[in-house]
């Protein structure tokens, strides 16, 4: 792990006003917004699942793991990395450092999210509060690590491809909680729409199971049918992301200049 890359990835987030504003928005504004709007049970559940679930975690970690932190905003960050990798820094070290920096950032911001949300709820005398007990904080830490790993992988793809995949995953994460019931008799009235619906739900479920690396420790340890499979799947997902990210970065070629 390269302490330099880890440290400067974090410092870079506070380096310019736009970035700081982005952080403030993610950390403070979003939970307050959700708190003001989440009035009744159903909306509250939906919005809380956004706050607690993959969506915000992915958005935060995506913004933390940057390659090119120069202001030139190029789509090809090769020129920046070519100087970086002339140093005695292995690509695996680079990946691990970015991962840990991203995880720390996500953890802190999501913790702030929960605190701010609870404070906003209490101020508005609402009763729905998000838990800050041992289970939820440990789950938060583990989720921070795995979402950061997923984002490191996505950032290892060529920029445009990675961005497309990120957007797809983000939208799909919102679909999951919204479509978790079956309506009676729906399929007979609008068969095409129904099958389209079901396809989206199916894709969302597959992504939920194999891609989104979230884990809920309370659910695992409170289950009457205890199984270590969720924990093993969690670790396996995370390692797979880091492995592929490393392989991709190892194989990546940095072309620059006219040749």
């Amino acid at each position: 792990m390269s302490y330099a890359v880890f440290l400067y990835t974090l410092i870079a987030k506070f380096s310019n006003p736009a970035s700081i504003l982005g952080l403030l928005f993610l950390a403070f504004v979003i939970p307050v917004m959700i708190s003001s709007v989440a009035l009744d049970g159903r909306t509250a559940d939906l919005l809380l699942s956004v706050l607690n679930g993959p969506t915000i975690a992915m958005a935060i970690s995506y913004s933390f793991i940057q390659d090119n932190i120069a202001n030139t905003r190029q789509m090809n960050d090769g020129e920046y990395l070519s100087l970086l990798f002339s140093r005695p820094l292995s690509r695996a070290e680079y990946i691990v450092s970015k991962w840990l920096a991203g995880a720390l950032g996500v953890f802190c911001i999501m913790l702030i999210n929960i605190l701010v949300f609870n404070i906003a709820q209490l101020i508005q005398s609402r009763s729905t509060l998000l838990g800050l007990d041992f289970w939820s904080i440990s789950s938060l830490a583990l989720n921070a690590l795995s979402y950061a790993a997923l984002m490191v992988l996505i950032r290892s793809f060529p920029m445009r491809l990675g961005m497309t995949i990120f957007v797809i995953l983000l939208y799909a994460s919102l679909f999951g909680p919204a479509l978790n019931f079956s309506i009676n008799g729906y399929e007979s009235s609008l068969p095409l729409a129904y099958y389209f619906f079901q396809t989206i739900v199916f894709i969302s479920n597959v992504l939920q199971q194999f891609v989104y690396p979230g884990i809920d420790l309370y659910e695992v340890f409170n289950s009457t049918r205890f199984s270590i499979l969720p924990l093993v799947a969690y670790a396996s997902n995370m390692l797979l992301y880091l492995f592929f990210a490393t392989v991709l970065l190892n194989r990546r070629e940095f072309s620059y200049g006219e040749d």
């Binding site: 390269s2 302490y3 330099a4 890359v5 440290l7 400067y8 870079a12 380096s15 310019n16 090119n68 932190i69 120069a70 202001n71 030139t72 190029q74 960050d77 020129e79 920046y80 070519s82 100087l83 970086l84 990798f85 002339s86 140093r87 005695p88 820094l89 292995s90 194989r251 070629e253 940095f254 072309s255 620059y256 200049g257 006219e258 040749d259």
Partner: protein, 317 residues
């Protein structure tokens, strides 16, 4: 030459793009010795950037072998001993110059206790004004960015330096600084590999120059022999007096065991066999009352070789 250590050994390097359709490097073999300044020159698309990319492990060759200090180029120890200046380096504009140097110092895994000293000496050698050290890189002028680029190379006290088009866009002061740096490196026996379009720059600093075209090395010139080989002396005569007769000039040449190449307008050309003869020639010309207005050594330089290779290439292809 054989007693010299080989710093970089390149053997049968092939790098192709587009499923083998385009060969950017076509069976390149090359040895670069320790302590020499080695230049790579060629037209656009010749493969010089590709070659440097392979040496820096920024590109992966399809076949062939590279050994730097006897190790593969991706070895961390090799990287620890080398430095790189890209053509258009992308710095972290939000950092100050000093912060950037700290970052690079940490990346180079140098001991923290020597950080301040290393950074300040590197910045001083690169002639970056101390008042600029704490300014944001965003506010740096072109010249300051070039100096910062050179400074980051100096941090790890490298044994091997890669410079990609170092002269591009450099002001005369910067070019002078670079030249001095190269001379200092030569004294310290640091190996330097550089790409350039600027032929006169290469002529002045390089020990050897390789001409690359179409992914192949066409020629490697030893600059010392190039300079020496050509002892072409040009004598410009005064237009007011009559030019001396050819016979006299041939006689003069014979005395020095040199070659009389002829007269064009008021310009006389001789080819001498040794450098020491230059002084003798001047004395003889004065003795024979040749109306000399100007006398200089003409260098058949890299430009000529470059053009001839290019032309040959065109004829061949």
């Amino acid at each position: 030459m054989s007693e010299r250590e080989i710093c970089i050994k390149i053997a049968n390097l092939v790098k192709s793009y587009g499923r083998g359709r385009v060969r950017a490097l076509d069976d390149v073999s090359l040895d670069i010795y320790e302590g020499e300044v080695f230049g790579l020159i060629g037209p656009n698309g010749a493969g010089k950037t590709t070659l440097m990319g392979c040496l820096l492990t920024l590109l992966r060759p399809n076949s062939g072998e590279i050994r730097i200090f006897g190790k593969p180029p991706d070895d961390l120890q090799v990287k620890a001993q080398s430095a790189f200046l890209p053509e258009r380096p992308n710095f972290d504009t939000w950092m100050s110059g000093y912060q950037f140097m700290k970052y690079q110092h940490m990346l180079a895994k140098l001991p923290g206790s020597a950080m301040k000293q290393d950074i300040e000496s590197a910045l001083a050698t690169a002639e970056l004004d101390p008042s600029a050290w704490n300014k944001r890189i965003k506010k740096y002028s072109r010249g300051m960015l070039q100096r910062l680029g050179l400074a980051q190379m100096l941090l790890a006290k490298p044994r091997l330096c890669f410079l990609d088009e170092p002269g591009s866009g450099m002001d005369p002061l910067g070019a002078n600084l670079l030249r001095n740096l190269l001379l200092a490196w030569k004294k310290q026996k640091v190996t330097v590999v550089l790409n350039s379009h600027h032929l006169d720059e290469l002529e002045r600093v390089c020990d050897r120059v390789a001409f690359i075209k179409g992914g192949r090395i066409h020629q490697i010139e030893e600059m010392s022999s190039l300079a020496a080989e050509q002892l072409l002396i040009v004598v410009k005569c005064s237009s007011s007096a009559a030019p001396p007769p050819d016979s006299l000039l041939r006689e003069l040449a014979a005395l020095l065991d040199a070659e009389f190449l002829g007269v064009t307008e008021e310009t006389i050309r001789f080819r001498l066999s040794k450098t020491a003869d230059k002084m003798q020639l001047v004395r003889l010309l004065v003795e024979k009352q040749v109306p000399v207005e100007e006398i200089f050594q003409e260098r058949k330089g890299l430009e000529d070789i470059f053009i001839s290779i290019h032309r040959d290439g065109d004829l061949r292809s």
